[in-house]
Subunit: 392 residues, 2 copies
């Protein structure tokens, strides 16, 4: 049974929904000497991460740190701490990750009131308002950046609604943090989680999370026991805070990588980083539309880091993605659920949101589409180049 | 607020309860190109890990993989899938991690029947048997390797007992797997979890886990919903199995490291690896006893990878550990709970279980103890050297 093979994976350009490629200095950070979970030097690394995450989340929240699990662990952590059994929760669903929130809310024994829109369509604010007023919900969940559709749901207009009943607002920013503005404090978001492998620019493995003081008050006051020990925020805040009470053995090298990735964000500046993601997304869209393809999401709701392109009639999804992977070492994502075989999900995230990658991918797509017999309307590469030269 | 500092941690020799240092080739494995979570090359890496873990766990269990979280996530995963609310569970407690199992069992709404022994003392088989027969428990939990005390609880004699009621046996092997025999199949263990940063020889971040077919049957048949989505083994087996159904974005670089660490175990051979840990532990014990110190645990119950030394009267715990850390860049662990200030926990685990480290640590301890005014009975280094020359 011996596994004798060395592991030498090919150099993929990861332009799917994540993981995305990361800067070399982030990889190098993982090779620093290992430290114990209470080593004073490691505790300083943890403090740096908290401060850098507050900057990235745009928050003053004291309870802001990285969960020792992937984005899904962050989602479960936000929900398991805040949601009590039998409580009514307003769950906004317009894609796979909204469904996942619904699934976890149900497992926790709470009663989810669903507000829905089709996958790729924005949720209607008035429908949310109506459902909220008709329910007794004191928690609203929303996916800011739907990884399954590339849709951005505005989180800016809920203040007024939430204040009616002093409700808490839980937001999934797995595919937006570090690439698209989220704005925890100015949007009155009470709990928000993300991942490391998309807009943040680190390998997958951790989930940045933040809780408002209001959220922490509710957690401290709740009567039902929190079902999870691993994701218990009241235990974790004692390890990340000045008490330094042992909870679990920290995944140190992952946090080294996260610290370095967050420093890159700090150096670039949040605003400049958002503009870079916006510009490359728009150039890519100009390219695919010139080729005669269509985007799934309306312009005002498009996520810059994740771009969903409709697969044209008669073009084979798997064959095109296989060609990109095998001929060009480029990974893009397919759709799933109702969008399986109907869209490609193109990530231009973190270090991968570059002019070079946009041109390379459009060139490769032109070749793969032509091999499928698809007649290009115009050159995508040319359109993107025009976009870049006009937006300089 | 800018975090301008580069992160250059000192080169610690990690001889505490873990993390332990790892071989350079394991660190190098983390620098391989990133892959998507459904990339065929990554799927092969997952298959290799499953096969290598079966070898390390000594099992044929199909459901054997790495959890995307630390050892605590593995513990919660074993419990949350197997334990139903209101069920009676026999929980063996003789240290901090037995207490943690009790804590999680309670959070899950089950009724824990405790069988206890003092920290550092073995549990009495007859007491377990009595409690089991008096209860309706169909699950028994046991910590094979108590990280808080360095005690090994024999797991070899429970067959007969478990068969009375066809009960399931959950074993915590966080501090033994890869360093001390666990023997899943031959000891009729139904669920077992570990970590990566101790006997396995990789950085912390993942938890190897295995479930027997019997355990999987119970999970499939249970009526109550599993409270955790992140740790749901029925979803995870579909990602690790041939279906390859997306569950979460795999922490790829951590799994690269785990694969390489497991290959090192395969190359060394399990039996040779156990003997290496045994030999270095015994040499260390010979050294500390020669110096006039005492071990916490009786010889037949000592864990080879984790050695608990009683702190002699009048010696200051923190000052000795501080001196080892600051003068020698050596980390050893302190005690906690009832053993706080009373023991040092010395890890000789994975790549760190070497003759060189034993001699270095004993030499450094001699200096640190003398600085405390402790009068050494004899040279620990000499005693260890004698041990090594006689055991060649």
């Amino acid at each position: 049974m011996a596994i004798d093979r060395e592991f030498h994976p090919p150099e993929r350009l990861l332009l799917g929904p994540g993981p995305s490629n990361v800067e070399t200095r982030v990889i190098q950070a993982m090779t620093a000497p290992l430290l114990g979970y209470l080593d004073p030097v490691y505790l300083q690394c943890m403090d740096d991460i908290q401060e850098l995450l507050r900057h990235t989340f745009e928050t003053e929240n004291r309870v802001t740190f990285s969960v020792s699990g992937t984005g899904g662990a962050g989602m479960e952590m936000a929900l398991v701490n805040l949601i009590e059994p039998d409580e009514e929760i307003l769950v906004c669903v317009n894609g796979f990750f909204g469904e996942r929130i619904f699934e976890i809310v149900s497992r926790l024994g709470a009663r989810a009131i669903r507000v829905e829109a089709a996958w790729g369509q924005p949720l209607d604010f008035e429908a949310i308002e109506r459902a909220f007023k008709e329910s007794s919900a004191r928690i609203v969940t929303m996916v800011h950046a739907e990884t399954s559709t590339g849709m951005r749901q505005p989180v800016e207009h809920l203040h007024r609604l939430l204040e009616i009943r002093d409700a808490l607002f839980i937001v999934d920013a797995v595919t937006s943090l570090g690439a698209h503005p989220v704005g925890i404090d100015r949007n009155r978001i009470d709990a928000c989680y993300s991942c490391t492998q998309k807009g943040i620019g680190a390998p997958p493995g951790l989930s940045p999370i933040t809780f408002s003081d209001r959220a922490m008050e509710k957690i401290r006051a709740r009567e039902a026991r929190r079902q999870s020990w691993y994701l218990d925020v009241l235990l974790l805040e004692k390890y990340w805070g000045p008490e330094r009470v042992y909870h679990h053995t920290a995944p140190n090298v992952m946090n080294y990588a996260l610290r370095e990735a967050l420093r890159i964000i700090q150096e670039e500046g949040l605003e400049a980083r958002w503009r870079r993601h916006e510009r490359n997304s728009k150039a890519f869209v100009a390219g695919v539309e010139a080729m005669g393809l269509e985007m799934l999401v309306a312009p005002e709701h498009r996520l810059w880091p994740l771009n969903a392109v409709r697969i044209p009639e008669g073009v084979d999804d798997a064959r095109v993605r296989g060609r990109l992977l095998n001929d060009f070492n480029i990974e893009i994502g397919g759709g799933f659920g109702p969008l399986k075989g109907r869209i490609w999900r193109v990530g231009l995230m973190g270090a991968n949101s570059t002019e070079r990658n946009v041109l390379l991918l459009l060139g490769a797509m032109e070749q793969a589409l032509e091999a499928e017999g698809f007649k290009l309307k115009d050159s995508g590469v040319k359109a993107a180049n025009d976009f870049y030269s006009h937006s300089r």
